[in-house]
């Protein structure tokens, strides 16, 4: 697990930006996701889907950075949806209250269609 390389990639899909994350989301990884999000925001994009299919764990510091992204998207009248969560990540988001502020979908296609 500790040898996993964290990777974040993004692409445009219609009017949304899909940010795909691979690996453990801690403080540094969270900052990289936030940088990627900010890069697209500067270009005027407001609708985001975070695909966490290849993420096994998110610690509370990582989630706090995702909360920062949700807040920023809300301030800009945009949205962030999550998809493809392992049960532990879905449970973490629920405990921390993220699911009240961002929608969670089973698949990326549903997330892209849903917001």
């Amino acid at each position: 697990m500790s040898n996993e390389v964290f990777k974040v990639t993004s692409r445009q899909a219609g009017d949304a930006i899909v940010i795909a994350v691979q690996g453990y989301i801690n403080n540094l990884a969270g900052e990289k996701i936030l940088d990627e999000f900010n890069r697209w925001v500067v270009e005027g994009h407001r609708r985001f889907v975070l695909n966490l299919e290849k993420t096994q764990l998110v610690n509370s510091i990582g989630v706090s950075i995702l909360i920062e992204m949700i807040e920023k998207a809300q301030e800009l009248n945009g949205s962030i949806a999550f998809c493809c969560l392992l049960p532990i990540i879905a449970k973490t988001f629920k405990i921390m209250g993220l699911t009240q502020y961002a929608r969670v979908y089973e698949t990326e296609a549903e997330a892209l269609a849903g917001e």
């Binding site: 764990l57 509370s60 706090s64 392992l86 532990i88 973490t92 405990i95």
Partner: protein, 137 residues
């Protein structure tokens, strides 16, 4: 080793980036051997990670390490995180507000594990977490 302990593993985790994952790997292996369901294995790992991060960040310890202990009992795993900091008041529950950015570690630990106790004092804090197989097989 206590009378009903089947196995005990102790680790020293240095306070350094991502070192909590080394302990999580051991937790994964032990809980897997005990036939915990994979979802519960992940819950044990995350609770342990949060316990170690809390110790790294909040204990105020001058000793740059935490002690982690796994004790396998019949039908239960006990995971201990010991820091060497100043202790804290466990009766003061952290408040959680909507979209609050920090302070979720303890809430996560207490939500993910079946039993959580803090033995704390000026010499440090011993976080003792238990997960029962009967609720997780």
């Amino acid at each position: 080793m206590s009378a009903n302990a089947l196995k005990r593993i102790e680790l020293e985790i240095p306070v350094a980036h991502d070192k909590e994952l080394e302990a999580a790997k051991v937790a994964e292996q032990l809980a897997g051997e005990m036939q915990f369901a994979s979802e519960c294995v992940d819950e044990i790992k995350l609770a342990l990670i949060e316990g170690i991060i809390n110790a790294f960040e909040h204990s105020g310890s001058q000793i740059p390490k935490v002690h982690v202990e796994f004790v396998v009992h019949d039908g239960e795993i006990e995971v201990v995180v010991q820091d060497f900091g100043q202790g804290f008041d466990p009766s003061a529950k952290p408040s959680v507000r909507p979209l609050q950015k920090r302070g979720y570690g303890r809430l996560l630990i207490e939500s993910l594990m079946d039993e959580v106790n803090y033995i704390t004092g000026p010499q440090g804090t011993r976080l003792v977490m238990k997960k029962r197989l009967s609720r997780c097989a």
